[in-house]
Amino acid sequence: MRAPKPLKKHNKQEARSHAELLLRLYLESNPEALCLVRATLQRATEVVHFPELESRAIVRSVDEALANVIRHAYKGRAGRPIEVTCRRLLGDPDSKTPSGLEIVLSDSGVPVDPKKLHGRPFEEIRPGGLGLHFMNQSMDVVEFRRKDGKNLLRMVKYLAPSQPERKPQGE
């Protein structure tokens, strides 16, 4: 069962103040670069102690988001700038803010129309339209906005609270 998605209840500025920069990558819109981002991000999720399944989900979401930037925002043109910023959300037990990982993608491609951002219906068996589903299924927050001529995609994955260790009975 998935952990609840508590972000909407949080003040975004408050969440940011409890974040530390883990990683900032500057890359070009070259599909060959995606494997490098996946490998780097995989390590970042391990640093934040995500379980393997969630780690793969985060890497997959970022990879799909980058592929969308290359294909749609830059229309397949290589050599255009993309910035990937990862922050560790430190969490605060007092305000019940969970810890986790925030990833922000920034590009200077054509503006994204949020109204057009919907994957294809699952019942349609046809190529395409799956990347956004992967992101929405895997991440707790997926937010698009346009600022200063750039598309910004912010994704957050929270760490589920760790379960207390069970001691074997009789010890």
Binding site: P31, E32, L34, A67, F122, I125, P127, L130, F134, Q137
Partner: protein, 110 residues
């Protein structure tokens, strides 16, 4: 990503290794559609045992291959899916539309 072919009478096995992502899925798509649409091979097997990663563009290529196989009266058969590939199939809700087997032996005898 690398693709190696093993041919026999009426079938071909493509042993695929590495990552099927935006950089490499066009190559797999080309091989797959060429085999089905141009060579009209009745049975096309994809050995995905050594595929570490597949993205939505890779899944889209598989779906195209499946559609082409249905249009041409051929069969596209997948086997040896890693847990990572299986996860993506499940997320896509496509695992039931493909013929999927655990091993090469099972796939060949299907």
């Amino acid at each position: 990503m690398q693709i190696a072919a093993r041919n026999s009478e009426g079938w071909v096995i493509f042993d695929i290794s590495g990552d099927i992502d935006l950089a490499h899925s066009p190559a797999m798509r080309k091989v797959l559609l060429g085999e089905i649409k141009e060579k009209h091979t009745p049975k096309v097997f994809l050995n995905l045992k050594n595929v570490r990663y597949i993205d939505s563009s890779g899944i889209a290529s598989l779906v195209e291959g499946l559609k082409a196989s249905r249009d041409n009266g051929a069969r596209l058969i997948l086997y040896g899916l890693s847990s990572s590939v299986r996860e993506v199939m499940e997320l896509s809700r496509l695992q039931k539309i493909f013929e999927i087997y655990d091993s090469e032996e099972q796939a060949l005898s299907s």
